[in-house]
Amino acid sequence: MKIHEYQAKEILAHFGVPIQPGRVAYTPEEAEAIARELGGPVVIKAQVYVGGRGKAGGIQFGDTPEQARTAAAKVLGMDIKGLTVEKVLVVSKLDIKEEYYLGIILDRKSQAPVVMVSKEGGIDIEEVAASTPEKIIQQPIDMHWGLRPFEARDILARAGLPHQVIAKGGTILAALARAFIESDASLAEINPLALTADGQVQAADAKILLDDNGLFRQKEYAAWAESEESNPLEFEAKQAGLTYVKLDGNVGIIGNGAGLVMTTLDMVARVGGKPANFLDIGGGAKAEVMRKALTFVARDPQVKGILVNIFGGITRGEEVAKGVILAQADLPKGMPIVVRLSGTGAEEGRAMLKDAGLDWGKDMRDAAQKIVAAINSKG
């Protein structure tokens, strides 16, 4: 799950990482009031779920509360990579002398969180990792202990950070590791970690991704979930417990099991169609779930037909067929549907579909060809 910078900083502050004072504003007036409260120059930062805000003009400065208001007015409502800015973070401006990179990601190979530190902050870490990997110090966290402060200091020293940053930076890196582990993150970055002219060390920007599987025990953070404007259906699907990913094509696709659904998308593309979505109904789905899934997929206005591909194990063919038949009432008139059933209850399910006058495919390829042909014939 993505969260905003201000939320990431709230988590970090909770674990003792120093951050600039500030708050979120939804209007230019609020931004002005916050700037007045803070006193001195401020930074106005767009809060959207994409990177590259600075380049897009989503970060502005204001020396006075009035300027803060003008800057906020410019940023609020701005379009950044298809997302409209609805809120800005207003924080005191730092007098930054140097910038560093601190990050922790989950690493599949070492099966542990891995700490990454670079003396060069404010950068795209993936780029640096690809072009000049020697500039990044990497170390897996031993999950017996977590990241101990001496290890954190050692990593910073090896990365070449200056003496005056080692003690404070070490405390911050150890806190970042605790935040990663205890908030069920899959990525946590402080980029940049700033050394200010007066010798303070602070998180000037932060990014955290949360592990969806950990949200059941992170209720406070789970409540932060909000819709990405570019993907309102995905957000709604998640709230409804469906695994749905929106794509660009016109063939709606529903199946059971992630691998099977992915393979079905590939098959549709293979026979000349364009998948409109990925939807996995999971194992053991009943008719009502099938009906809900179909209705949901059909809400995407780009969808011109739907392919249902089920390999029955604990999911039963009769239930699938029943759901498809029930959904007819909710779907746009004449929308083609092709169902492919195999495994448990497939025979019974097919008979039910036939009685209801619905089309079915003998296997995944046949079903994919049928739905693509049906959509094309309608122009």
């Binding site: 794509l247 199946g255 691998g259 194990g313 495994g343």
Partner: protein
């Protein structure tokens, strides 16, 4: 012959008294699996599907001599169940549970490694040695004993491809769903090594998908194998940055793409099927080459 599981394996079920646990215990027994007991804390002393239930894995192992376990414990307690099994000295741990917090898995893997246990999964359908038994939820009716080892990151795709193989008359030695999470107990390469050493396996079918670099690593190992491996990669149409159902099926930046995996396998001269329907023919050719 087979790998990891045969009809002498003594299996317990953790979470045996739950709805899923009970249902699949019955199915496993039907498939011939030697189920010797079950574990549910607090339900010790009861009987489920003729199997004695214990409060702890240690008690179950002491009483039954179990050497394998199948875990149906819900996500919040599943990593603990894995650690309990490994600590009790269970050699083969199959964890079906989907949705385990990944940070819990980083801790569980420490314990699994320290005790030298083999973990299959989590977030997997389990495994089957046709004619001998199965651990997990794979429908055993689709299998046929034979010479092809099968490994896949997905559940229903496994059923689909195994059914195609069986239809084409190609039997299987052992089939394993390795799990769809970012952190899993054993990789493709781990299983390829076991199949390479198994006298009953003549060729292997490997079904990978987007995310991580397990398939690329396997490509390196396959170069050194004496047995042929046939592969398929799903997720060619998946967009970057989106989790495609499986927590582990996500393209991050330029890593984990289907194209990258196909290229790595082809560079290692490993046949990659265009669609799943091409897998039986490729497997047939592979078998013809070794005989």
């Amino acid at each position: 012959m087979s790998i990891l599981l045969d009809n002498t394996t003594r299996v317990i079920v953790q979470g045996i008294t739950g709805r899923e646990g009970q249902f699949h215990t019955r199915n496993m027994k039907t498939a011939g699996t030697n189920i010797v007991g079950g574990v549910t804390p607090g339900k010790g002393g009861t009987i489920v599907e003729d199997a004695p239930v214990f409060d702890t894995v240690a008690e179950a192992k002491a009483a039954t001599g179990a050497n394998a376990t199948c875990i149906f414990v819900p996500p919040a307690g599943a990593a603990d169940a894995i650690m309990e099994a490994a600590s009790a000295g269970i050699e083969l741990i199959v964890c079906i549970t989907e949705g385990i917090p990944v940070i819990d898995m980083t801790r569980a893997m420490l314990v699994v490694r320290e005790h030298g246990a083999r973990l299959i999964g989590p977030n997997c359908p389990g495994m089957c040695t046709p004619g001998q038994g199965k651990i997990g939820i794979i429908p055993y009716q689709i299998f046929k004993p034979g010479p092809v080892g099968f490994i896949s990151r997905s559940g229903t795709l496994t059923y689909e491809v195994v059914a195609l193989l069986t239809e084409a008359g190609i039997g299987q030695s052992t089939c394993i769903g390795i799990g769809g999470d970012p952190i899993i107990g054993s990789t493709f390469t781990d299983y390829l090594k076991l199949f390479e050493a198994d006298a009953g396996t003549k060729a292997v079918v490997m079904c990978g998908e987007i995310g991580g670099s397990d398939e690329e690593d396997a490509a390196e190992y396959i170069k050194t194998m004496s047995k042929p491996v046939v592969t398929f990669i799903s997720g060619r149409t998946a967009p970057p940055g989106k989790r495609m159902g499986h927590a582990g099926a996500i393209i991050s930046g330029n890593t984990g793409t289907a194209q990258g995996k196909v290229a790595a396998l082809q560079a290692a001269k490993v046949p990659v099927a265009d669609t799943i329907f091409d897998i039986p023919d490729l497997a047939e050719e592979a078998l013809a080459r070794v005989s």
